[in-house]
C-alpha cells in the first residue's frame, strides 16, 4: 500500500474522528433540541463517509470494498432523512426552537425558522 494512500486514509480517519467527537459534544452541550439535531445530523452525516473512506483506502479492492461503498451510500441517504423527519416530528409535537430576543432589533436571521 503506497504512502500516499496510507496518509490519505489516516487523514480521513483523523478528520472523521474529530467530527464525531465534535458532534457528540454538540449533542450534549447545545441548549435546545433543534440545535442538537442540527449538530448531530450535520456532523454524523459528514463523519460517517469520512471514516468509511478512510477504511476503504486501507482495504484491497474486493467485494468488501463494494460493501463499504454501499454502507456509505446508505448512511448518506438515511441519516439526513431521519434527521429531517425527527425535526419535523418534533415541530408537529409542538416544540418550538429556543429564540433569544434582543432588546435592539439587530436584523439578524430569524432563529425561529425550522
Amino acid at each position: 500500500m503506497t504512502a500516499v494512500l496510507e496518509s490519505l486514509s489516516s487523514l480521513c480517519l483523523l478528520l472523521g474522528g474529530v467530527l464525531c467527537i465534535t458532534g457528540g459534544v454538540g449533542l450534549l452541550r447545545m441548549p435546545d433540541f433543534f440545535s442538537r439535531v442540527h449538530a448531530s445530523g450535520v456532523t454524523d452525516t459528514l463523519a460517517a463517509p469520512l471514516l468509511l473512506i478512510g477504511l476503504l483506502l486501507q482495504m484491497e479492492w474486493s467485494l468488501d470494498s463494494v460493501k463499504v461503498i454501499l454502507i456509505l451510500m446508505l448512511v448518506l441517504a438515511t441519516n439526513p432523512t431521519a434527521t429531517h423527519a425527527m425535526a419535523k416530528a418534533t415541530l408537529h409535537g409542538g416544540q418550538q426552537p429556543l429564540v433569544f430576543d434582543d432588546e435592539e432589533s439587530t436584523g439578524g436571521e430569524d432563529t425561529s425558522k425550522p
Partner: protein, 94 residues
C-alpha cells in the same frame, strides 16, 4: 490511526448515551438513540476490520438499515399516534 478513530467513535457513543439518559424530552432521546445507532454502524465497520471478524460488513449494512427503521418506528408510534384517522391522504403523497 484506526485505533484512534475507534476510540473517538466509542467516546461519541458514550456522549450520545448520556444524552439518552438525560434528554428532557423524548425527542432528545430519539435523536440520541439514532446517533448512537449510526456510530454503532461505524464501530462495527471499523472494529470488525481491525479485529478481522468475518462478514462484519453485512452486519454493519443490516444495522444501518435497522437503525433507520427503528427511528421511523419510534416516530410513528410516539408522535403520530392517531392513525389512520388523521391522514393527509393522497394529496400529500410524494
Amino acid at each position: 490511526m484506526l485505533t484512534a478513530a475507534i476510540v473517538a467513535i466509542l467516546v461519541t457513543m458514550f456522549l450520545a448515551l448520556i444524552r439518552t439518559f438525560l434528554g428532557p424530552t423524548e425527542y432528545d432521546r430519539m435523536l440520541a438513540a439514532n446517533s448512537f445507532g449510526t456510530k454503532t454502524v461505524l464501530l462495527i465497520a471499523l472494529g470488525g476490520y481491525a479485529l478481522s471478524w468475518n462478514s462484519f460488513l453485512d452486519v454493519a449494512l443490516l444495522y444501518a438499515l435497522l437503525n433507520f427503521v427503528g427511528t421511523i418506528a419510534v416516530m410513528r408510534f410516539f408522535e403520530y399516534r392517531n392513525a389512520p384517522e388523521e391522514g393527509n391522504g393522497p394529496e400529500s403523497a410524494a
